[in-house]
């Protein structure tokens, strides 16, 4: 396929007098990681919501596989392959891990008990919940619910994963493991991953393309080391 998998052109969005996004461009290829960083109120969550279909921009377009999906609602975008992981882990707390994953598997169009169970098991292995398959999801420790939700995204065959602060509330080790997992998914499944994060060390370990947002505007793009050299970024974000 030619061109980027997800192409964001000139997105703008305001809430009342607050300009949450101004002329934001972003280009995401299959098999790549894009990190979006910025201080609180930079418009990261707004951008995420516009990518996932939870918010419609005032102007600008979102193209996915060359199609204009700007006005597609969230469920339609998700079933096309652009799936969001929420900041607070969102899963089905009253169901077991495997039942959770099966609901994701059904979204991928897989039917029939045996095929469904097999695929759910496969996904549980990938996100290392194989030992907890029959545990009620609501009783999992926080870090593992983050992985469960990533598992849900895998189960429904996401091609673009939108990860909203995937390491929030994780231990240092869990954070490092999450970076490894994301690298594996991108490498083995040619998945495109967009990460919004606060944790600079985590972003550094992702070794990805970085976009810096400030007051709704992109102020720098490049590798993490490029961005860290950028004077404006140092000023607004790193506080130097």
């Amino acid at each position: 396929m030619s061109g980027p998998l997800l192409d964001v052109r000139a997105l703008s969005k305001h809430f009342g007098g607050v300009q949450a996004a101004t002329d934001v461009h972003l280009s995401v290829d299959a098999g790549s990681i894009t990190s979006v960083i910025g201080p609180n109120g930079a418009g990261k969550s707004t951008l995420m919501a516009m990518l996932s279909g939870h918010s419609i921009p005032d102007s600008g377009n979102v193209f996915y596989e060359g199609r204009d999906v700007t006005k597609w609602p969230a469920h339609r975008r998700a079933s096309a392959g652009v799936v969001r992981k929420f900041q607070r882990p969102a899963y089905f707390p009253g169901l077991s891990v495997v039942e959770n994953l099966e609901i994701g598997v059904v979204a991928a169009g897989i039917r029939g008990g045996r095929a469904m169970r097999a695929r759910a098991r496969e996904v549980a292995d990938i996100v290392q919940l194989d030992d907890a398959r029959y545990v009620t999801a609501g009783s999992l420790p926080h870090g593992r619910t983050q992985w469960l939700e990533i598992g849900l995204l895998l189960a429904c065959r996401a091609r673009v994963m939108l990860l909203d602060e995937p390491t929030a509330g994780m231990t240092r080790q869990e954070t490092a493991d999450t970076a490894t997992l994301i690298h594996q998914l991108v490498h083995d499944l040619e998945m495109a991953v967009v990460v919004v994060e606060h944790d600079i060390d985590f972003v550094r370990s992702l070794d990805s393309q970085v976009t810096v947002l400030h007051l709704g505007q992109v102020i720098a793009t490049g590798s993490m080391s490029d961005v860290e050299q950028d004077a404006q970024t140092r000023l607004v974000y790193l506080g130097e």
Partner: protein, 344 residues
């Protein structure tokens, strides 16, 4: 697509209670089989009054199961089931007297079901699309019942108004073959078969992809939507199907009881349905069925013995369920049986 992710894990984060794979929960089906066997035996051992009255209670059970579908599986509480029951009963009553022969009967049942499904579907679609849910949706369903009752009262040319309408026992026949509900024992077995049929169908539905997704919507609507499910559409389908089942039960109830009045759509009856399901156990179709049968049987006895206190007792029971007994009778029984089974 299998690969190994080499990640070291802190033992702490892996410390989860290892739950065993649950034995595929057929306890509900087992208990249901026992119930159906007992009901099957009633005409041979019971008296004629039981054979006359139990089909009506079983149809209340079907009505309760229709609520289990939306409330238990989908988490959508509805006080509108009484209205759909009423539509089913009136449609059969009106059309079976105005259109002669078996055509009128079938037409009555079909129109009742179609009308209920359509009303429920249209209303639910707009409400769910507008993200009306929770107690706001409950209020709308209460209004559905009220409106149903008002129409039944005011359209007296068709419905007999406040006095209600008598419906004779009908014959369900196709080119001469079928059942004549005029006989109490025939109609008993017919209603029992219908109840079993609805139970089996709903159990199948709950295990299907549609049922699983419905449970997902109950557990986390936002997540289900963001996995690619059109949540509003699926909730609408569930609500519409539940209305259709309620209408079917209502049609047969109309001819079984021989009488239908607007009181079927009033707040008391609508609340009763919710009570049956809550006390029986909303997470299981058997819970709705048992709740409806048990409460109807007990209230029949106690209504004559302690008419002043029975309603109060029922209210207290409902409060107890809401406060600390969420699983209800059947839910608790199934949990207890499964625990004993797991310990073995």
């Amino acid at each position: 697509m299998s690969f190994k992710v080499e990640v070291s894990h802190e033992t702490a984060s892996r410390k989860v209670v290892r739950a065993r794979r649950p034995r595929r929960g057929n306890t509900e089906d087992l208990l249901a089989t026992v119930l159906f066997a007992v009901l099957f035996a009633v005409p041979s051992v019971g008296d004629s009054y039981q054979v006359f009255i139990l089909p009506q209670y079983m149809l209340f059970g079907v009505l309760a199961m229709s609520l289990c579908l939306v409330w238990g599986l989908g988490g959508i509480l509805s006080f509108g089931q009484g209205a759909f029951f009423l539509i089913g009963a009136y449609a059969l009553g009106i059309l079976s007297t105005r259109v002669s022969g078996s055509l009128g009967v079938w037409l009555g049942i079909a129109v009742g079901i179609a009308l209920s499904a359509a009303v429920a579907g249209a209303l639910a679609y707009f409400l769910f699309r507008a993200r009306v849910r929770g107690s706001y949706f409950v209020l709308v369903t209460l209004a559905i019942s009220t409106i149903g009752g008002v129409i039944a009262t005011s359209a007296s040319d068709l419905t007999g108004g406040f006095n209600g309408m008598f419906i004779s026992r009908v014959q369900l026949t196709v080119s001469g073959w079928g059942v004549d509900l005029a006989s109490d024992s025939t109609s008993y077995y017919f209603v029992l078969a219908l109840t079993i049929g609805v139970y089996v169908m709903l159990r199948w539905l709950s295990r299907s992809a549609f049922g699983r997704v419905l449970v997902g919507i109950r557990e986390n609507e936002e997540r289900a939507e963001a996995l690619g499910y059109d949540v509003a559409l699926r909730k609408t389908l569930a609500f519409s199907l539940s209305a259709a089942i309620a209408a079917m039960a209502g049609a047969i109830y109309g001819t079984e009881a021989g009488f239908v009045s607007p009181s079927l759509a009033d707040v008391v009856f609508s609340t009763s349905i919710v009570l049956w399901v809550a006390i029986g156990g909303r997470d299981f179709f058997l819970g709705g069925l048992v709740g409806a049968l048990a409460i109807s049987l007990v209230s029949e006895k106690l209504n004559s013995a302690i008419p002043e206190y029975w309603q109060l007792l029922l209210g207290v029971l409902f409060l107890a369920v809401v406060i600390g007994f969420r699983r209800g009778i059947v839910g608790s029984a199934i949990l207890a049986i499964d625990r004993v089974g797991d310990r073995r």
